[in-house]
């Protein structure tokens, strides 16, 4: 019983700010309401015993990406961001497309039978993730650093105009 209560609280903590992110007229308010959404998602990771992913989610999403988004909002929009119309003309169209996609996914979800594992579910640890990264997924590990390098160099080239 308690787990279901926790689940509903967390989904409320996540979905209400998510609606604000998507519909708020003030761009900074929608950026700041990203943070409770990410903390709600962190709560889900905790219920799924993925503790390291939850810590990283708080550190990177709530701490780095939201700061980056806030920086760009402050640098580009300045004052006009809050008074200007935020939505394009196709709101009903977009809403229909999103609802239709949600309906489609939910139907397929309910149809398929997921091979849920039985029995006691083990808990995870940072050591397991570290060993996985350094032994089974070494290629992903090294290629991700290349992706990071390329995105860093690319972003600097794009953002900085050659004076």
């Amino acid at each position: 019983m308690g787990e279901l209560a926790a689940f509903t609280i967390l989904s409320a903590l996540m979905l209400v700010p998510a609606v604000i992110v998507v519909t708020s007229r003030n761009i900074v308010r929608s950026a700041l309401s990203l943070v409770p959404t990410f903390l709600g998602v962190t709560g889900f990771y905790i219920m799924l015993h993925a503790e390291y992913v939850a810590g990283i989610q708080v550190l990177i999403y709530a701490g780095a990406i939201t700061v980056l988004i806030l920086f760009v909002i402050m640098l580009t929009e300045g004052g006009s961001g809050t008074m200007v119309r935020q939505v394009t003309g196709q709101v009903p169209l977009g809403a229909m497309a999103a609802i239709w996609l949600a309906f489609l996914i939910l139907v397929t979800l309910s149809r398929t039978t997921w091979p849920v594992a039985r029995g006691e579910l083990p808990s995870y640890s940072v050591q397991a993730i570290g060993t996985a990264f350094l032994t089974n997924y070494v290629l992903i590990f090294e290629v991700t650093s290349l992706v990071l390098l390329i995105s860093l160099v690319g972003a600097i080239v794009i953002a900085r105009r050659e004076e």
């Binding site: 308690g2 209560a5 003030n26 900074v28 308010r29 700041l32 943070v35 503790e51 390291y52 810590g55 990283i56 708080v58 550190l59 709530a62 701490g63 780095a64 939201t66 700061v67 806030l70 920086f71 402050m74 640890s125 940072v126």
Partner: protein, 388 residues
């Protein structure tokens, strides 16, 4: 039913830790700061309200309770009010993982989270959001600029902070704070892999000072620079909440530094003759300051008190060692002694170092601390695996 019991226990602990943080951290942190800065500048500091001015900050808080809250025109009231909450709550959340000591047969920590130090770094990174929101919501050019500069300083110093923590995680082999302190039973990490331990400690302390926006890294809220930076528009109790957040974070960083590098609540197991030598040295300084020409100098009077206290401590340690009691003093005393020593060091730095300009400050982080941290990690990794 078990959930309810757990939640009640957590709420009770939260109230306890919050009052400890608000009273010891914020109120007496401010009092300590004013007394120490007074002592360094050869003046007395608050002494009228209550014995030795102890109730000065209590009086300030009560005064703040009846100050009017002014919200600037066209400011975003919702964000304007939640920003101090974010900063204060983030400072409180740091204390979930810090182990205070051992008592009643178990480690006195709120919860020993498996990814303890990563959790601490994550909570420190949430404060930046509060500062940016405060700077933006107060509709004031200086506050916005102060918020942006303070945020860019804090994010620049988050990486060296993480590298300092990583070094300790590497040596200890675990992320949980209690595990790190247990791993230091053999020897404090400050003295592990001799030169690198000290380098990691200096790296962590510099980043922690910058993370808490204290001098020499407090440019964003420098009086001479930006009219108090991001909390320019905050009056009364909301400003006090920012102070609570800042001092809570400072005490949290000092506590974590003592857990990571000075062995948390562990007692330094020095041989008896070392304690004897320390005791004699302390007594010698006390006698010299007391009876030589320096006794007229008002500034040095607290030094005699400190030296005598040190001598008494060494005496107790020698007595304990002779009687064979392994933990001579209760572990709580060692934890608070180390924490307050680091807090004193942070406050002492405030009145001895000039303020860094913003570009020097950022250059120090990106061009000195970050490469030093990375090389430190690699060198220790090399020594621990390949060279062994």
């Amino acid at each position: 039913m078990a959930w309810l019991l757990e939640i009640l226990k957590a709420a009770a602990l939260a109230v306890l830790i919050f009052t400890f943080l608000a009273v010891v951290g914020a109120m007496y942190g401010v009092y300590l700061e004013r007394k120490i800065s007074g002592w360094i500048q050869a003046r007395i500091g608050p002494k009228h309200v209550g014995p030795y001015g102890l109730l000065q900050t209590v009086a300030d808080t009560v005064k703040l309770l009846q100050k009017e809250h002014i919200t600037p025109r066209r400011a975003d009231a919702l964000i304007f009010n939640t920003a101090p909450l974010i900063v204060a709550v983030a400072a409180l959340l740091d204390w979930v993982v810090i182990p205070f000591g051992t008592g009643f047969g178990r480690v006195l920590v709120v919860r020993d989270i498996n990814i303890g130090v990563l959790y601490f770094a994550a909570m420190a990174s949430i404060t930046v959001i509060g500062i940016l929101a405060a700077g933006w919501a107060s509709n004031n050019k200086y506050a916005l600029l102060g918020g942006l500069r303070s945020a860019s300083q804090m994010i620049s110093y988050e990486i060296p902070l993480a590298l300092g923590i990583l070094w300790v995680a590497m040596i200890a082999g675990t992320l949980s704070t209690v595990g790190i302190v247990e791993a230091q039973r053999g020897g404090w990490f400050l003295f592990k892999v001799p030169p690198l331990g000290l380098l990691a400690a200096v790296l962590f302390l510099a980043a922690a000072t910058a993370e808490v926006n204290r001098v020499p890294f407090d440019l964003p809220e420098a009086e001479s620079e930006l009219v108090a930076g991001y909390f320019a528009e905050y009056t009364g109790m909301r400003f006090a909440l920012f102070q609570l957040g800042e001092y809570g974070e400072m005490f949290g960083m000092a506590a974590l530094a003592s857990v990571l590098f000075l062995g948390g609540w562990l007692e330094p197991n020095l041989p008896v003759w070392v304690w004897a030598a320390l005791g004699v040295a302390a007594l010698a300084t006390a006698a010299y300051v007391r009876f030589s020409a320096l006794r007229t100098v008002y500034l040095l009077r607290p030094i005699t008190a400190l030296a005598v206290l040190g001598a008494v401590l060494c005496g107790v340690m020698i007595l304990g060692a002779v009687l064979g009691r392994s933990p001579v003093l209760p572990s709580l005393i060692w934890f608070f002694a180390k924490m307050f020593a680091l807090v004193f060091f942070l406050m002492w730095m405030r009145w001895t170092y000039p303020r860094l300009r913003l570009d020097q400050l950022l250059n120090l982080s990106w061009k000195v601390l970050l490469p030093a941290g990375l090389l430190n990690l690699l060198l220790t990794g090399f020594l621990l695996t390949v060279a062994r």
